[in-house]
């Protein structure tokens, strides 16, 4: 395949995997953050402290940990998902979970009480009150998801350890960049970074501007 063709292929794969990972992760991270925001105990604060510190946990270790689990001699080896795009997606979804929970928690912990109470007094079921909170903070949640996506697409450790950087199959932006750096192809690496930057930043700028238009 041509150089450009390969870059396009890698771009599509990276975006697909990281976007799926972000959406997957939001399925548990956002409800969890709401539940945590509801509780105001000392325990919750400690839990948030731990989650905050997990945000920057070395991705290579997350990758290693997942590798051990997914490896054929590991507990989930039977699933045979090691070195597949699916494994990267799962791994990234887990990786960004502390980030998504922490950021959503900050959003909800402020707004939680007043919007929740208001919805409830107007007759909302807990599920409806949850939904209200989420629509109320919709733009903020989009920002959180963008940050999560940016983190997912930019991380290396998980993609490398459970994806394997297999050409034409699990090779994504960051693993390509790492490979090019190890080849000494700094120019190509920087070029790839530039493309990544353009893609992520235009998407996110557009989403923010659009989001801004209908906010409040």
């Amino acid at each position: 395949m041509s150089f450009i063709g390969e870059i396009i292929e890698i771009t599509i794969r990276s975006v697909t995997i990281s976007l799926s990972a972000t959406i997957l992760s939001s399925l548990w991270s956002i409800p969890l953050s709401l539940i945590i925001a509801r509780s105001r105990s000392r325990m919750t604060k400690a839990l948030m402290g731990v989650l905050n510190s997990l945000i920057g946990f070395p991705t290579v270790l997350v990758g290693l940990f997942l590798y051990i689990i997914f490896s054929s001699s590991g507990p989930l080896g039977g699933l045979g998902i090691l070195y597949t795009p699916f494994a990267i997606m799962i791994g990234e979804a887990l990786l960004i979970t502390p980030l998504l929970i922490s950021l959503s928690y900050e959003i909800f912990s402020k707004a939680y009480y007043e919007y929740w109470e208001t919805s409830i007094t107007l007759g909302a079921t807990p599920a409806q009150a949850f939904m209200k909170l989420i629509t109320e903070r919709f733009e903020d949640i989009i920002v959180v998801l963008l940050i999560g996506f940016s983190r997912a697409i930019g991380e290396l450790g998980v993609a490398l350890m459970v994806g394997g950087n297999i050409r034409g199959f699990t090779r994504v932006f960051t693993t390509t960049i790492a490979l090019e750096v190890s080849k000494g192809n700094f120019d190509i690496a920087l070029f790839l970074g530039f493309i990544l930057l353009i893609i992520v930043s235009t998407t996110s700028a557009i989403i923010r501007i659009m989001g801004g238009r209908k906010s409040d």
């Binding site: 007094t121 007759g123 079921t125 807990p126």
Partner: protein, 240 residues
């Protein structure tokens, strides 16, 4: 009917704010008055089943609310709406806000809008329909919050200082809407400092202080008090 039986309540900070209150709200309209910090808001939130008493029971139509299972609680909650003294409006337009209680009760968007528009008109607020919450004056904001509660069709409507930001005209409008509401068998409970409003509503007044019921009056009991006040103030003005 809502009934409180020997209700005690305290905030985290400790000392009880509500001291063994017994109360039967059987009038169409009940007004609660009392000085700042008397416990009016706290009491209303207990009545609206938002705060759980430390001790004592809250009975809604004879049912002990805090002994219900969460599913039944929901059904019961829909019988009561509460408007906070500093209400919050949701994002979106005034229309979105006012239709919300209908939408979550499963009404169609169309019907909800129709009803909302009618209510806004009767409150002389139709010009606000498409405004966002940060484009409202204080009084407009308060009226929209009240409209949003009233539209729910709930049996018990609990209003915390509903007139604090209203002009004379809107006070009269609100008064007449309240009169209309109670005609259909509903009950309105209001905490207020607005003695003129209390006087006009012409109903039973519960006076509380320091978390206790001090006396139960009637609007007409306020008449003398206010008239004297006016006389004094008026004389001063006229003399100046």
């Amino acid at each position: 009917m809502i009934e409180l039986r020997d209700v005690w309540f305290s905030y985290n900070s400790g000392k009880p704010i509500i001291h063994g209150v017994n109360l039967r709200l059987s009038n169409e309209i009940t007004i609660i008055i009392g000085p700042n910090g008397a416990g009016k808001t706290t009491l209303l939130k207990i009545i609206a089943c938002l705060y759980k008493p430390d001790k004592g029971d809250v009975l809604i139509d004879g049912v002990n609310f805090w002994k219900l299972k969460s599913k039944e609680k929901l059904i019961m909650r829909r019988k009561i709406v509460y408007v906070h003294e500093n209400p919050v409006l949701f994002k979106g337009t005034v229309m979105d806000n006012v239709t919300y209680p209908l939408i979550i009760r499963g009404h169609s968007l169309e019907k909800a809008r129709e009803k909302a528009l009618k209510l806004l008109k009767s409150l002389k607020l139709e010009y606000l329909t498409d405004r966002k919450r940060n484009e409202l004056s204080a009084g407009e904001f308060q009226l929209v919050a009240i409209a949003r509660a009233i539209i729910s069709g709930a049996k018990y409507i609990v209003l915390d200082e509903p007139t604090s930001n209203l002009d004379l005209e809107h006070r009269i409008v609100l008064e007449s809407i309240i009169r209309e509401i109670v005609k259909s068998g509903k009950q309105v409970i209001i905490a207020t400092h607005d003695r003129l409003f209390a006087l006009k509503l012409n109903t039973e007044i519960i006076e509380i202080n320091n978390g206790e019921i001090r006396s139960i009056l009637h609007s007409k009991d306020l008449y003398q008090e206010i008239e004297e006040f006016i006389k004094k103030a008026g004389k001063k003005s006229l003399n100046s």
